[in-house]
């Protein structure tokens, strides 16, 4: 309970810091929405050229991009700023975080909670809502539950990717934008039906790394469509488990990484 109050205090402090530069805060708030809008617009543009992509209609594809965008925006808002870690590691400012009586990761996340990204989440969920309305989904209790859990599981999955790629900085200070290949690359990957990808590439990202379970498989389960790639119908319900697995892996990587933190000379 005491911890919660401490986190709340940290969060509001960050909010007050951000709004102390009022104009730039507003500019960023709206500027940031652009990125998510473009993801969705790209899909819409694609379907102007062809009526079906990878065997999926526009309505179905929007459900996939909606699940992916909502989950990613949620993860980006809450956990995405962990990619600032590399600058903290380089400058050694993580020291100040580590001498406080709270776990390091939540502190880091709250220390610069990117409130400016809040509108992206709103947009992601609006798209998801429209997609749900546009598709004729046969609502069973299982599907209702899946619908509620999938954006959260997607956020947890992307959040884990954020944490893992940020943790690289503990071993490799110049990790640069390598992590972005998996975070933003992963988001782009999950925005389309995975049937459009070929061979080993699909095998690696969709199944081995689990990106196929973020939006594609749950979307199939929601729509009640058989998987053109042959996975059984229940595989869409695996997405929360896949997210849990990713989160567990991220926790291990983070803990190991923080023991490798080297600080800097002062």
């Amino acid at each position: 309970m005491g911890d919660l109050r401490a986190y709340a205090a940290l969060g509001t402090a960050q909010l007050r810091s951000a709004t102390s530069y009022r104009t730039s805060f507003l500019v960023e708030l709206f500027g940031n929405m652009g990125a998510t809008v473009f993801d969705v617009v790209t899909v819409l543009v694609l379907f102007r050229a062809t009526p079906a992509v990878g065997g999926f209609s526009l309505r179905e594809a929007v459900l996939i991009v909606g699940l992916s965008s909502a989950g990613f925006a949620l993860a980006d808002l809450t956990i995405g700023n962990v990619d600032r870690l590399k600058s903290y590691v380089r400058a050694g400012t993580l020291d100040a975080v580590l001498v406080r009586p709270l776990p390091a990761l939540p502190q880091l996340l709250l220390m610069d909670l990117p409130v400016r990204k809040a509108l992206r989440v709103v947009f992601g969920f609006v798209v998801l809502g429209l997609a749900v309305a546009a598709n004729d989904i046969d609502w069973t209790p299982g599907r209702v539950l899946l619908m509620a859990l999938t954006p959260i599981a997607a956020a947890a999955f992307f959040g884990s990717i954020f944490v893992i790629s940020a943790s690289l900085a503990f071993w490799w200070v110049d990790s640069g934008e390598l992590g972005s290949a998996f975070t933003y690359g992963g988001r782009d990957f999950t925005s389309y039906p995975i049937s459009v990808y070929g061979g080993w590439f699909r095998g690696l990202f969709a199944y081995a790394l689990g990106f196929g379970f973020v939006a594609y498989q749950p979307a199939l389960a929601l729509l009640g469509r058989p998987d053109p790639l042959g996975l059984p119908a229940w595989s869409g319900y695996l997405s929360p488990l896949v997210a849990l697995g990713a989160a567990a892996l991220a926790a291990v990587v983070w803990r190991t990484g923080i023991r490798h933190y080297r600080s800097t000379g002062s």
């Binding site: 109050r5 205090a9 020291d95 406080r100 009586p101 933190y261 600080s263 002062s266």
Partner: protein, 316 residues
């Protein structure tokens, strides 16, 4: 309160060897430190740049994981019990801020109250004390980014003390401060140490900090402790002597010798002489000198700790 047993920290450094190849090299930043610090002690930790002072402090505070050896602070293991330990220690890193850059100073203090879960009454009492001792009132409402370094450091000290820590670690608390701010910080720490409840460990390059504050001095070089004891013990060990400086009415006779002393300097056309007191008392030397030649003025100089330490750093 603090125990270190054969404490070591190694860093792997990759050195360029050819266009793409990198050679791995292991550097021991802290190389087997054994120290025990009791409750209420004030210990000054000095050493040249890169000697391992900050690295040691970071291992004591749970920031860095030791490569080998044992360490305990307040009976806790710093890294595995980091958050528990954080409630019982205060840390001031001279070059890392604990404060919120964009918020007024008093808001940082309020935040720390929540983070450390300090009861409001205790917090208010400690803050009141710091406010009067460190003159915080005039800039409590100023955003931290607009504070001068001296003001910020006073804020950092307060921030480190609001939860009533048992041990206070200070990494170069006076670095970059002007003389007045340095004195303010020292006076505050002296007052804090005098109560005897707080164990104080500070690293510094300013030996005046040590002379003013610490009975115990630990000198570290190349990751090892090369001296552990009082400042007097350091002088005795390195043969530092007091010296007698005299202004004379007339130059010293050529064959003059003062028993138990060595003549180390003659300046001002032979009118000013300096003797190093090797094996005699100041009183005997003064008496001997006055009896031999007319003396206008006399002064006695304490050995300069800077010289001693400089010698310590450069000796292999």
């Amino acid at each position: 309160m603090i125990k270190m047993q054969d404490l070591q920290k190694h860093f792997t450094v990759r050195v360029k060897a050819g266009r793409l190849r990198r050679k791995k090299r292991t550097v021991a930043a802290v190389d087997g430190v054994n120290l025990t610090i009791e409750r209420g002690e004030m210990v000054g930790y000095i050493g040249p740049n890169g000697a391992g002072k900050s690295t040691t402090l970071k291992m004591l505070t749970g920031v860095l994981t030791p490569s080998a050896g044992e360490v305990s602070v307040c009976g806790l293991a710093p890294v595995p019990q980091r958050t528990k330990l954080a409630l019982r220690i205060g840390v001031v890193f001279g070059q890392r801020s604990q404060l919120w850059w964009d918020l007024p100073l008093h808001e940082s203090f309020e935040l720390l109250r929540h983070i450390y879960r300090v009861p409001a009454a205790e917090h208010a009492a400690r803050l009141r004390r710091c406010r009067s001792l460190l003159d915080l009132d005039e800039f409590l409402d100023t955003p931290v980014r607009q504070l001068s370094l001296g003001q910020r450091m006073r804020g950092e000290l307060t921030a480190a003390l609001l939860h009533g820590p048992e041990v206070l670690f200070l990494d170069e608390p006076t670095i970059g401060l002007d003389v007045v701010s340095k004195q303010a910080v020292r006076a505050f720490l002296a007052e804090l140490g005098a109560t005897g409840d707080v164990t104080l460990v500070l690293t510094t390059h300013d030996l005046a900090d040590i002379e003013r504050l610490c009975e115990r001095l630990v000198v570290i070089d190349h990751g090892r402790v090369v001296h552990d004891g009082s400042i007097e013990a350091l002088h005795a060990r390195y043969g530092s002597r007091r010296s007698l400086v005299a202004d004379l009415e007339q130059p010293l006779p050529a064959d003059f010798a003062l028993p138990g002393t060595v003549l180390t300097a003659v300046t001002a056309n032979g009118h000013r002489v300096t003797f190093s007191l090797e094996s005699t008392t100041a009183a005997a030397a003064v008496a001997g000198l006055v009896a031999a030649v007319p003396v206008r003025d006399l002064s006695l100089l304490e050995p300069d700790i800077e010289d001693v330490v400089a010698r310590l750093y450069t000796s292999p």
